[in-house]
């Protein structure tokens, strides 16, 4: 079995374990390359269907291309799309310049997700995070229990032995990370092989492209002439820059990602 097929097979195993375990399962979709690849694998796991809701945590600050991509694929893949926004915070003027970027991420992403889970009653969420994205994400488990107040206690995670994923009874909700073992290059090679739809923001225009996409005010494009997936792969195969270098929140202060994640950030 070739490498990418093995990666996919292991991810599908995790997806199917989650689907078996939880009757109220949903998936987070940011329309980025990772969660779109995850969505692709979900369709493969269930033979063309996506048998649970797909949640978009909408900060309202996303790029217009993200919304267009979302609406196109939601129709094409027949998704049960749920858009979750922290309307109270948005009405109060929350934004990346209101207090600081940490407060903004926490209000418009983490708290929007909290509200969505409470309202829709989900037990578990599938997310497209990967270990090689960030040193703190590298410490994640495939099945990660979260407490009632949403916190991730990274110092006392339950053991996870082989693929006998723990079923911790007292967790308020679980996060499941089927792509944990894949690298950024794995994802792009998978996208190329499978023909997974690609958000146009990743492709260079006028010498610039986004390597990691999120909210427009907090993402910086990189200098690039990669206008196709092949060219993106060639660029990454030669690059020495970390993937999230263009993300504002990672740079602002030491351990920001850890603080965000321990409060329930994705």
């Amino acid at each position: 079995m070739d490498y990418l097929s093995r990666m996919e097979s292991d991810s599908i195993y995790v997806i199917r374990e989650a689907f078996n375990r939880y009757s109220r399962l949903a998936m987070l979709w940011s329309m980025g390359k990772d969660s779109t690849a995850l969505l692709w694998m979900v369709r493969r796991a269930f033979f063309g269907r996506v048998p649970f809701p797909v949640i978009h945590i909408d900060t309202s600050y996303k790029f217009p291309e993200i919304y267009a991509f979302r609406d196109r694929l939601a129709k094409e893949f027949d998704l049960d799309l749920r858009v979750a926004r922290n309307e109270d915070a948005l009405a109060g003027g929350m934004g990346p310049t209101k207090i600081d970027k940490f407060a903004c991420c926490n209000a418009l992403k983490t708290n929007a997700l909290k509200q969505a889970i409470a309202k829709m009653g989900f037990e578990a969420l599938l997310l497209g995070i990967r270990r090689d994205e960030h040193g703190v994400r590298a410490k994640e488990r495939y099945f990660s229990p979260r407490s009632q107040d949403f916190t991730w206690n990274v110092g006392s995670q339950p053991p996870e032995l082989w693929d006998l994923y723990a079923s911790v009874d007292e967790a308020a909700h679980d996060r499941i990370h089927p792509l944990l073992h894949m690298t950024e290059l794995d994802i792009w090679r998978y996208v190329r092989r499978e023909g997974v739809p690609v958000n146009p923001l990743y492709l260079a225009k006028e010498g610039k492209r986004y390597r990691s996409i999120g909210c427009a005010p907090c993402c910086m494009p990189i200098a690039s002439n990669a206008t196709t997936v092949d060219e993106i792969i060639a660029e990454l195969e030669a690059s020495h820059e970390p993937e999230r270098a263009g993300r504002a929140q990672d740079k602002e202060a030491a351990f920001t990602m850890q603080k965000l994640r321990s409060l329930g950030y994705m």
Partner: protein, 404 residues
Amino acid sequence: MGVSNRADEKPVLRIAMVGHVDHGKSTLIGRIRHELSALPGTSAVDPSIAGNWAYVVDQLQEEREREMTIDTTQTFLETPACRLVFIDVPGHQELIHNMITGATRADAAVLVLAADEGVRVQTRRHALLLSMLGIHTVIVAVNKMDLAERSEPAFRVLEEAILAELRAVGISSSATIPVVARDGDNVVTRSPTMPWFTGPSVMEALGEVEPASAVFDAVRLPVQDVYRHDVPTVVGRLLSGTIAEGDALTIFPSGGAATVTAIRRFPENHAAAEAGESVGLVLEGALPERGNVLAPASDPPRTAREFAGRVFWLASEPLAVGEELSLRCGTQSVAARIEEVSEKLDTATLDPLPPAQSLAIMELGTVRISAATPVVMEPFVRLPGLGRFVLERAGRPSGFGILP
């Protein structure tokens, strides 16, 4: 497609760094990452942590403040020849559950031993655990050789001691290498500071490791689920063997017979499936349920309600004879009762322990278990995926076992 095909063929090696507290596991990974950051596609190590190589993997605030690894981490490298996944694990015995979590993902290991301290409790315990987990490809890095004046006689004494420890748990090391991880001596390239050593660097030794190939080829498909949205489809990941349309399979433990009429895949079905593949089968005949194992009638798996395994206990509350908990093996989850504990071992010393009615944290013993329903298994050496199990208390993995 030439490039992608080549990338697809590169073997993957997952390497756990194990050993006692502060012997330099994280530092060795960090130093390797630093020295290989010139590799195409590898991001540079943050220059502000130069010298503190452990920070490459110790990225939690608590880890840096306390100068220790708390939870297991993985870091990825792609060389022109292969893919490497380095798995860091904590050395503290209080964090043994995190060490096991990391080690169960590994194919090979580097056992790190500090030259100034030599073999310590966790060196021995980690070596024992590697043996138990079936990780027999082990390289020894004798680190901090600067604290032993980079001297050959000091190295030979340590080499003899660690090889004896490894032999005691049934492991033969493929290389024992004197190293100064902090300075990069014998880490990626051979160091002129220890000219008496003519063996490989750590990376050279890892380059010699052959990925293990599966030898067991009878079909074993643990059933994950049956989807009934449209045509009933049995899903699971094929542990071993190959399946083709028309194959006759038996459902264990019930014994029902079924024939494979289609191997589903979206968007197009496949005619056959190979080991490692997450498959969807349409069957004619009996329909299995989650936990069942599909296998050929001519080469059946072992099925038993009562069996014994070697168990390592992870929870602070001991495992007691008479206790009822949940046993997980493959996709099976069954209620199980502990009938007997025998042949107990002190994993800090490898000395036998007196007979007792319980197994305490970090003790190893033979545990006889009776399950509420028959369990489908294989000896671990034959098929690891059906030869290992986890004991759960209230959904929390509290111990794991290996079937002889």
